[in-house]
């Protein structure tokens, strides 16, 4: 009797670390978000975007121009005297390509006005002062143009706590805060942002020669996949067992666990049964 050959169908288990997005849908979703949160909810149609020359702010500038019209978006470049000239030039390319207003506010005098009394300030402290000074500029320009500062922090930075508290995270709305860095890159390619902006090493540009991945000790490509698994509820040992390097998992886990406070408002002593955001709960748009 002839043996019957049955077809065998193989299936690959889904990869829990899948970070795929449909960039066209993401663009549609995020421009809807900007229009809705700015115009319908807050009656503001002017966006103020700090344009650093990096991919995150480039994506936000493109999205704001798409959502609100270029004439309603101000791209603000805020160099410090040690900032990279390449960053400044890349920021200019973004502003030119999108057609948004070009504002340049040099923060050197403002920053040095304070730091001249703090000559022993560490590079981290100096970087934080610059980041907070840029926030002052963005909020003040918003008041000037009756607009809203729009945030440019991505999910990877937020989860790793790689930002200055009450600076990068302070704008009232942020279209890319739930996108990992690798997803921002994907969206940037879809939006037509120049490759050299997407592919250059990400940097906060607070200290000369600084790169994100140098500071973090892990590439975004790997950190994002680990972060995604952590957010899905996998434990560190599960992630290592699925093929990730233990040292890298520990880097990411340590940073996430050490920075929960940065993703919250200040801790307030509760003494009543009407404590704000504990008992008295109203949503941000109420």
């Amino acid at each position: 009797m002839k043996a019957v050959q049955l077809p065998v169908v193989h299936a690959t288990p889904p990869d829990g670390a899948d970070l795929r997005i449909d960039p066209a849908l993401a663009q549609r979703w995020l421009t809807n978000f900007l229009r809705d949160e700015m115009i319908r909810r807050r009656s503001k149609n002017v966006a103020i975007v700090g344009v650093s020359g990096g991919v995150d702010s480039a994506v936000v500038a493109y999205l704001c121009a798409d959502a609100l019209g270029a004439e309603n978006v101000y791209g603000v470049r805020m160099p410090y005297r040690t900032s990279s000239s390449e960053s400044f030039e890349h920021g200019g390319r973004v502003i030119k390509a999108t057609g948004i207003h070009d504002l340049v506010v040099d923060i050197s005098d403002a920053v040095d006005g304070y730091l001249q009394y703090e000559s022993d300030a560490s590079p981290t402290r100096r970087g934080n002062v610059m980041a907070r000074q840029r926030t002052i500029v963005l909020f003040d320009q918003s008041a000037k143009y009756d607009g809203l500062p729009v945030g440019t922090g991505n999910k990877s930075e937020r989860m790793l706590g790689y930002f200055t508290w009450h600076a990068d995270d302070s704008p009232p709305i942020n279209p890319i805060g739930d996108l990992f860095k690798t997803q921002v890159w994907e969206l940037a390619r879809h939006l037509g942002i120049p490759n050299e902006i997407i592919e250059k090493p990400a940097t906060a540009d607070l200290i000369r020669g600084q790169t994100d991945e140098g500071d973090l000790g892990i590439s975004y490509l790997r950190a994002d996949r680990i972060l995604n698994r952590i957010l899905q509820g996998y434990r560190a040992e599960d992630i290592v067992a699925s093929g990730f390097d233990r040292a890298e998992v520990e880097i990411v886990t340590r940073r996430v666990n050490a920075t929960h406070w940065k993703r919250h408002l200040p801790t307030t002593a509760m003494i009543s049964t009407t404590a704000i955001n504990e008992y008295y709960l109203r949503p941000v748009d109420y």
Partner: protein, 371 residues
């Protein structure tokens, strides 16, 4: 298509329903002892899965007077957060737009969940909640302003936060508006999502029942959003005779890995299977717009009783979807795929299984004194 006032009055308000139920209960007491005992046993089994024996869920069965063709309008819009008056004005504008629509005014206008306030209101629910009767009154006023004081009757399904003597619910009402506005049914959401982005049970109380009720446009039931994600809830509605299931919803979009948000696909799949299994029309109306960064996916749609998608609105943007259904399709679908009939045949065995499952569950821990 208009309803005659006398027919309108025949369809009763909630108070009359309660009265009729009382009469029905009295009649039941007069039956023989053995029949009553059997009935009690059946009822005990049925209650285990939330099914109460009925011939008349809301006191009337008037199939003969029901219209076989029903014109529907599914409305998706973004309410102004916490502003009940502004949202009633939007509803009035919708009525006005429908009044001038070339298809004529629909038989039933369906609005999403939490239409009077927006969905994420947290502790603000106590400030935006209305009684069902107050909501009926406000809706009636909006209809009269939009369509004139003597407008032709039409029905409305609308999600709102309900205040019932300080108890707060996520509810949806079915009302007939016209010369004699009637509240036909209020459904209180049973399955309150309290996970992830949701925190409903912190702010509102669970509903307890799923009922079907007669309207001039078919026997209907309402489930709110997550209620309908539980297939057994749809089953209860269908067993109680619903031909049309209305689902006011507020579904925050998430999952952008494909060409449409993942939750839109999920809802379409849920509705397709539920409609086909039960041979029931499913009418879904979803909120749109962003609330605190969470964007709702409208995708208001009509699923036919064969599991056939009849129409679907875009997932973003306000829209009114007009469509017409024939209730005859329900019978055709149930005859072609008699799954509901099969279920009824096995209901006794299933309820026994539910009884056993409930009996085998660990007892709930006794309440401990508060710390």
């Amino acid at each position: 298509m208009s309803l005659r006032p006398e027919k309108d009055r025949l369809l009763t308000n909630v108070a009359t329903v309660m009265k009729k139920r009382k009469v029905a209960r009295s009649a039941a007491k007069r039956t023989s002892h053995s029949l009553a005992a059997k009935s009690r046993r059946t009822a005990a089994r049925a209650r285990t899965v939330g099914i109460v024996p009925h011939p008349s869920a809301n006191g009337i069965r008037k199939r003969g007077s029901q219209r076989q063709t029903v014109s529907l309008a599914l409305v998706q819009f973004a309410p102004r957060k916490g502003d009940v008056n502004a949202n009633l004005e939007r509803i009035e504008q919708v009525f006005s737009a429908l009044r001038h629509d070339k298809e004529g005014f629909p038989s039933v206008v369906v609005f999403p969940e939490a239409s009077l306030s927006g969905y994420f209101v947290e502790g603000g629910v106590r400030e935006v909640a209305l009684t069902a009767q107050a909501t009926l009154k406000r809706l009636s006023k909006a209809a009269q302003k939009a369509c004139g004081p003597n407008h032709s009757p039409f029905d409305v399904v609308l999600g709102f936060y309900e205040d019932d003597g300080g108890k707060l619910y996520n509810s949806a009402l079915y009302a007939s508006l016209g010369a004699h506005p009637v509240l036909r049914h209020v459904h209180r959401k049973l399955f309150l999502p309290t996970y992830g982005v949701f925190d409903e049970e912190r702010f509102v109380t669970r509903g307890r029942t799923i009922e079907a009720f007669d309207t001039l446009h078919g026997r209907a039931a309402i489930l709110i959003c997550e209620d309908a994600c539980h297939s057994i809830a749809v089953t209860v509605a269908a067993l109680r005779g619903a031909q049309i299931l209305y689902i006011p919803s507020a579904s925050p979009g998430r999952g952008l890995e494909d060409a449409e948000p993942a939750n839109v696909r999920m809802w379409r799949d849920i509705m397709r299977v539920a409609a086909a299994e039960h041979g029931i029309f499913i009418v879904y109306a979803g909120l749109v717009g962003f609330e605190g960064g969470k964007g709702f996916t409208g995708a208001s749609r009509l699923m036919g009783p064969f599991g056939d998608l009849r129409v679907e609105a875009p997932f973003d943007g306000a829209a009114i979807v007009r469509t017409t259904i024939s209730l005859a399709d329900v019978n055709i679908a149930r005859a072609a795929l008699p799954a509901l009939g099969d279920l009824e045949s096995n209901l006794s065995e299933l309820t026994t299984m539910f009884d056993e499952e409930v009996a085998n569950r660990p007892a709930r821990p006794k309440a401990r004194p508060r710390a």
